[in-house]
């Protein structure tokens, strides 16, 4: 099958969801064409818009991978944002406790703190699955809420910045800040690492023995077991790996953007990560491209809300519809 033929259902899905949402937008009395122009082109009109898009692209790619890696092994990780926040806490902890260290030590420590904390947050549901056979969907979801409250606690606890109005921690040490690629508007170097991680995950799952075992487990756990793969260990590995990558996203948020923890810093990364992962159908190679597309829509959505007063949720529904239509294209092809 040629690439064009492969992409056709996606294109149709995008067009169909834009048409469906467009009808609704015009019924609400808004200018559809202006709305869609804003959504699609804000990212490409100004350098600021493009960098905003790249900044969104980083956590979205990582959170989508945090979902697709376990999905490759046949497990659903719905806890990416909790793992990301845990990663943020781990990174901030390192950056605040060892604030005086030079960048060459502190920066890796901050990143590592995030990755380890995220991996631990993924390990708990994985362990519950391994030991007690508890459905990972529920435990990963519930640990999101635990992480959100933990962040609020950390922001009001001993590391609280008394000068700030809203509960936040103090800034992490200057050495823990990610170097900037572009200064104005700011773009941190986490994007390079994120792209490397995405390439690494793609190579791991499609070109290595370990990754093949993981994918085989997801494709048919019973057959994988017969061939001597320890499938339950693969479940654990996939969830911990997913957690670590989500934790990295949290570390970037702290080291690259905020330089501190902020109460309620969670956003809709979880849902968008899941949508990206599902639109990619678990194909890690497709994830960065879909993530970029969703980042474009998200940046366009905020611009649309600012200039046209159309709520950002409109675009979120468009994204959910794209997912639904992509899934439907499978059914059409089966027939």
């Amino acid at each position: 099958m040629t690439i064009a033929k492969k992409l056709l259902p996606y294109l149709l899905a995008v067009v169909a969801s834009f048409v469906a949402a467009g009808i609704f937008i015009s019924l609400m009395g808004f200018d559809v064409f202006k709305a869609y122009q804003t959504i699609l082109f804000t990212s490409f009109r100004t350098p600021n818009g493009f960098i905003q898009t790249l900044l969104k692209f980083i956590p979205l790619t990582l959170l989508a991978l945090a979902f697709t890696i376990p999905l490759n092994a046949g497990k659903f990780n719905i806890g990416g944002e909790g793992q990301m926040m845990a990663g943020g806490i781990g990174a901030a902890a390192m950056g605040i406790m060892f604030a005086d260290l030079p960048a060459i030590i502190l920066l890796p420590l901050v990143i590592l703190g995030g990755v380890v904390a995220g991996a631990l947050w993924g390990l708990i549901p994985a362990w519950l699955l391994y030991k007690f056979n508890i459905n990972e969907i529920l435990t990963t979801v519930l640990f999101n809420f635990v992480a959100f409250f933990l962040i609020d606690y950390v922001c009001t606890g001993p590391w609280r910045d008394p000068a700030a109005g809203h509960p936040t921690t103090v800034l992490i040490g200057r050495g823990g800040w990610l170097p900037m690629l572009v200064n104005n508007p700011p773009l941190h170097s986490g994007i390079i690492l994120a792209i490397l991680v995405a390439i690494g995950v793609y190579i791991y799952t499609s070109r290595t023995t370990g990754g093949y075992e993981l994918v085989a487990t997801g494709a048919n756990p019973r057959a994988a077991g017969v061939f001597g793969i320890n499938t339950r260990r693969m479940f654990v590995l996939s969830l911990v790996l997913g957690g670590a990558i989500a934790g990295l996203a949290g570390a970037f948020e702290v080291a690259g953007n905020q330089h501190r923890l902020i109460e309620g810093m969670q956003s809709n990364f979880l849902q968008l990560g899941l949508i990206i992962g599902l639109i990619s159908r678990g194909n890690n190679g497709a994830v960065p491209f879909v993530a970029f597309m969703i980042a474009v829509l998200e940046v366009g959505a905020s611009a649309m809300q600012r200039t046209m007063m159309i709520p950002v949720e409109m675009v979120f529904i468009v994204e959910a519809l794209i997912l639904l239509f992509v899934l439907l294209s499978d059914v059409v092809r089966r027939k």
Partner: protein, 310 residues
């Protein structure tokens, strides 16, 4: 002391309603094999729509009805995609969860605009049952509640009777255990799956509508706070049976009320740690009970009568 206990138990019954209704809704769909994971989104839509309709019509009853219809619509979509199109239940459930999440915040923003002071609706009044509410101790706990507390208990008992005491109920359960056998006996498995998911969706929508009508008097973004997900845990905890789900919801609600109460009274624990309590307690309960939990045999699967094996 006595009044504190009465007060606490009264609140536990008051707060169990979303758990009971969402749990029964999940159970009903699951009993025909449809595993719904869109509760959180469906409850949010129920809350949003229920609030908006009550606010504009001035009728809470109408609000509840429209919330139930919105739940039914999601249930119908779930049934169509899984039963007719045979798509993966988790994936479709997640997609519906996203749509629900988006719609629930979009509607109030579009209709009311972005306001700092959201309008309020009157909260549900308690309806004392004559004579019974005069009984000491249990009177104020059991019989001075709002109408939906009574409804949720009646729904639970009704579902138990239907599922375990009637022929149709037996047929419905058989679809969730061995659809092939059920099919060979002439039971319309498709119809069963549609109806159980639609009615289940109505109950979940009603569970959502309860939140603005009892707690806040208004809709706030994400106000379910994971109750939809907790309802799934509750359903497993209750072994996919109506009466154990009803009892189990008392536990879930007691944890919620307790965590809230301790926050108000104040304790050595920071309030954020107390807020984690319901989620951690749920996970502990899952560890203790999941191994023994009875689950419908065909849960999460789609039945294709044209395939030789399942």
């Amino acid at each position: 002391m006595d009044t504190t206990i009465i007060d606490f138990l009264r609140l536990v019954l008051l707060s169990m309603v979303p758990f009971v209704l969402a749990g029964q809704g999940t159970m009903l769909g699951g009993r025909t094999g449809v595993f719904n994971v869109a509760q959180e989104g469906m409850m949010l839509v129920g809350a949003s729509v229920g609030f908006l309709v009550s606010f504009f019509s001035g009728s809470i009853l109408l609000g509840v009805i429209v919330a139930m219809l919105s739940g039914a619509l999601f249930g119908l979509a779930l049934a169509y995609f899984t039963t007719s199109l045979k798509m993966n239940q988790f994936v479709i459930g997640l997609a519906l969860f996203f749509i629900g999440l988006g719609v629930s915040t979009l509607l109030p923003k579009l209709i009311l605009g972005i306001t700092l002071t959201p309008p309020l609706i009157p909260t549900l009044k308690s309806i004392p049952i004559p004579l019974l509410s005069q009984t000491p101790f249990i009177g104020p706990i059991l019989f001075k509640q709002n109408i939906l507390v009574y409804v949720s208990v009646l729904v639970s008992i009704g579902l138990w009777y239907f599922l375990f005491k009637t022929q149709k109920g037996l047929e419905l359960r058989s679809v969730g255990e061995y659809p092939m056998t059920a099919d060979s006996l002439g039971i319309n498995t498709t119809k069963m799956r549609y109806w159980s998911t639609i009615i289940g969706g109505m109950l979940i929508g009603m569970a959502g509508a309860y939140l603005p009508m009892v707690y806040a008097g208004t809709f706030t973004e994400g106000m379910t706070m994971g109750r939809g997900w907790l309802a799934i845990a509750l359903t497993f905890f209750g072994g996919w049976s109506p009466l154990p789900i009803l009892y189990g919801s008392l536990f879930f609600s007691a944890v919620e009320v307790l965590a809230f109460r301790v926050q108000v009274i104040g304790s050595f624990l920071p309030y954020q740690i107390l807020q984690m309590f319901p989620y951690i307690a749920t996970i502990l309960v899952m560890i203790l009970t999941f191994k023994r939990s009875r689950v419908p045999g065909f849960l999460g699967n789609n039945y294709d009568r044209e395939k030789r094996s399942l």
